[in-house]
Amino acid sequence: MTEYLIKNGFVFDPVQGIKGDKADVAVKDGRIVTGVSSGAKVIDAAGKTVMAGAVEIHAHIAGPKVNEGRNYRPEDKLFTYTPKSRQSRMAGGFSIPTTFKTGYEYARMGYTTAMEAAMPPLYARHVHEEMRDTPIIDEGAYPVFGNNWFVMEYLKNGEIENAAAYIAWLLRASKGYAIKVVNPGGTEAWSWGLNCLTVNDPVPYFDITPAEIMTGLMQANEFLGLPHSMHVHQNSLGNPGNYTVTLDSLKLAEKIKPNNKFGRDTVLHSTHLQFHSYGGDNWGNFESKSKEVMDYVNRQKNITIDTGCVTLDETTTMTADGPFEHHLTELNHLKWANIDVELETGSGVVPYVYSPDIKVCEIQWAIGLEIALLTKDHMRTFITTDHPNAGPFIRYPRIIKWLMSAEARKERIDSFKHSAKMIDATLIAGMDREISLYELAQMTRAGPAKALGLANLYGGLAPGMDGDVVVYNFNPEKDHKPDEIEKAFSAAAFVLKRGTPVVVDGEIVSNGNKRTLWVDAKTDENPQVMRDIRDKFLRYYSINMNNYEVAGHFLTNPMAIEVDATR
């Protein structure tokens, strides 16, 4: 394999604590090394910023609801398609890009790994087929567990070990990466047209509460010692006043201790926190509660979060929170897709226009940024847009601009239609904090990699780690106008993925050699759980048990993260 030497760049690497020193980064055989031979290919990074490849911890980029979004929104592709080129397939879609465009756009921004945030296990094959067609980036997918009949039945009886055995079985069957929870209990309730809006609302028939589901899943997660913590989208997403439900959910982590061999010291990841930090009790007095929520997050060290920043675009919302999407379509009257999945989960899709002329959207924009700016530990707060829910991921450079430049935020606020009302309902106008490049590297690289239990591979430039290196046309010693920041992070000057150049001068030069990550957790034999699984397939599933498991050939370059949970 070719050797590379990225010379003289300003390096930002939280893993090694390098804060913009001029340094060289050497890559050989796909990994970071301490030095290379004189025959190495030299990339001149003088006057530029060098970081590890970024890691996306939460995006909806592959699977049934994503594809429903693509297929039912031809208008999302009108006049915006990128033609094929010598190196790349044709690529289209604004808020829900095709799989090819997904891989290319992440790579162009310097992202080299991304996690699909919600995989319905019955549709796991579909998720893997799409990931197979997503070039360049390494990917994994989180199967959803928060409304799963097995899980609810075991946890209702306090059977953590059985729940853990089932989870290990399902991770293997679906080739999944982590325990994802979406509106715990609420989506099962939605199968009857109902919902669970607090952590104490009992789930119809199953007679368990969201709090019990989340607590039990955290316990099962640590029983197994999985690389990632439980990853949760709390109840009551998107409703005014929901920050109390959020705090109730986060507090559940206080009782749980991390247990794993991956260096992960957190037990709960709370995703797209922006959607869960709302005050007021209606859309009229809707306001930011980012401070209340972030004060807690900053104190409670075993929690990680991602922001879910609103980008102010026309986008497509999609979530396994089925009742929320129904609520949304009742508000905006736009097309509603819903997919309830037997015994497991549900989901919905509705287009949404975040308009800078609508007060609520302006406040949502502020809350997302406030969460990032109020952060004390940047290794525990990650930048996302909950793509495509709060906006498409291609807007990360714009969010970075707003976080790195108070001037950019002021420009934006001044041109809002309701800026005075927005300022009253938020904190953003009084914040002069600007995120540094080192903090940015924590929030987009080292932090998410650590939370995912992948700190040995991704997120840093220490020898032995994957050779994922990004060079941005951004000189930290110079002043930048806001739009120059956005431009620099939109199209990297150079991206190396596991030692292969994939982007040069912002253009795709290779389809790379992506890997698919999944977690293989070994547990003790559990005949009761196996009997329960067989029984449910026989009686309640619509497919045979033997046709459920995703075979290896659906995964491109599979990489199993092994966990031994036998006792």
Binding site: G92, E129, S191, Y541
Partner: protein, 438 residues
């Protein structure tokens, strides 16, 4: 000794039953018997065993006779035809695996083709309606476990999807439906008294071509608004009564078929049915699902969706993807003379398209890839026989509720016979040499 292959997926209709048992001979070459399948599904397996099966490609001669050619020659003809065309149509894709569809799309991208599947004459109108108003739906297991209101609108599963009612819709006992059909009320809307209608608690014998009006009237009745005395031949009293019955259920489902997708109003019928479903969600839980025909037409829409963003009728001719039924749909293209070559795989337009379209296929350079001799193979310049997907080669398929199931291989194909995917891969390789990307 024979052996039995279990958990076999049936490559016939969109119901995609996955509980078949196929008995094969000791040498693994012959299918002896098929269990659990419906008559049509069993026939699909047995038909692969036909002794007179065509095993090598055949090229049509000027006098109309066929001459056997090698696969190499067939690959060359196909690649040249696609490379020389300005705007080829690549149609079918519904009776093959997602893996084959994927290679087909790579070819289509190279040559600037239009990729279209059989939805174009079946549920394409459904897909248009979904694009206009969305679709609240669910998996078939949800219906089995929960549904107590079942509507069949313009479809006759008793004949078209024979195991649908026993596996998923009317009869199965599920978690919350342990009394099976006794838990359920069945409504059929059909101008004819079909065998499905005979099983229903309510049969609305609607006037032909008035589905849009009747669906609209149901929506009016659900809202408790004013109605004229009769709509589509049905009295307003029966419409109000039916609306109440639907609202009083716990979980309802509308299944619909080509009786509404291809009759007057087409996509608007489905649009209105979806909106009725959406309205009913203000009172109870309701879903709606298309009764998809070919076993993997759904998969074709999915693969096209994630690769290009559209579920059918995708025009790649300008190096990027465009979509607009009415323009980029196969019959419009053929009848209007918009395409200059036709490639068919996994469907039989010769049997299903209007004669004016079929004539165009016969006049153009054309290739038909199909295990069988079909009306399409008989009007095409080249017929390429291939292995049966789901019998002689596995591959991923999507059920009518979009659930993916990996089809199994049961027996070997005849010696030397290529699969769809292998043939397409060879054409694709050849095209790499013939078509330069600019």
């Amino acid at each position: 000794m024979t052996k039995t292959v279990t958990d076999v997926i049936c490559p016939f209709c969109g119901t995609l039953c996955d509980d078949l048992e196929v008995v094969v001979s000791d040498d693994g070459k012959t299918i002896v018997d098929v269990y659990n399948a419906c008559a049509i599904g069993a026939e699909k397996f047995m038909h692969s065993q036909a002794r007179d099966r065509v095993k090598r490609p055949r090229m049509q001669q000027p006098d109309g006779t066929y001459k056997e050619v090698s696969y190499d020659e067939a690959v060359e003809y196909t690649a040249q035809m696609l490379a020389n065309a300005k705007k080829p149509l690549m149609y079918g894709w519904s009776s093959t695996s997602c893996e084959a569809q994927s290679v087909g799309h790579e070819i289509a991208e190279k040559v600037g083709a239009i990729v279209d599947n059989t939805a174009t004459v079946c549920h394409g109108t459904t897909l248009i309606a979904v694009q206009d108003v969305g679709i609240p739906s669910c998996t078939l297991g949800e219906i089995k476990n929960r549904a107590d209101r079942i509507i069949f609108w313009g479809c006759n599963p008793a004949h078209a999807h024979p195991r649908h009612q026993s596996r998923y819709s009317i009869f199965p006992r599920g978690f919350f439906t342990n009394k099976g059909h006794k838990n359920r009320k069945v409504v059929v809307v059909d101008p004819r008294r079909t065998d499905t209608a005979k099983m229903a608690d309510y049969h609305f014998q609607i006037e032909q071509g008035r589905d849009y009006e009747l669906l609209s009237a149901f929506r009016v009745a659900v809202r408790g608004e004013w109605l004229p005395d009769t709509v589509a031949g049905i009295s307003k009293e029966r419409i109000y009564e039916a609306a109440e019955m639907l609202k009083s259920g716990r979980f309802g489902i509308i299944f619909f078929g080509m009786g509404v997708t291809q009759s007057l109003s087409k996509n608007h019928n489905i649009d209105e049915a979806i909106m009725l479903t959406k309205d009913l969600n203000d009172y109870t839980k309701f879903s709606i699902m298309a009764m998809r025909g070919h076993y993997n037409v759904t998969g074709s829409g999915q693969v096209m969706g994630w690769q290009f963003g559209f579920p059918y009728a995708t025009d790649l001719s300008r190096g990027f993807a465009r979509y607009n039924p009415g323009e980029t749909t196969s019959n419009d293209l053929l009848v209007r003379g918009e395409v200059d070559a036709v490639f068919v795989l996994g469907s039989d337009p010769g049997a299903h398209f209007p004669i004016s379209s079929v004539k165009k296929i016969s006049q153009l350079p054309s290739v038909c890839v199909d295990p069988h001799i079909t009306p399409t193979s008989e009007v095409s310049k080249l017929h390429v026989p291939v292995a049966f997907v789901g019998v002689e080669v596995g591959g991923n398929c999507y059920r009518m509720d979009n659930v993916p199931i990996d089809a199994r291989k049961v027996v070997d194909p005849p010696e030397g016979m290529l699969t769809d995917e292998e043939f397409l891969t060879r054409v694709n390789k050849r095209l790499e040499q013939l078509v330069a990307v600019t």
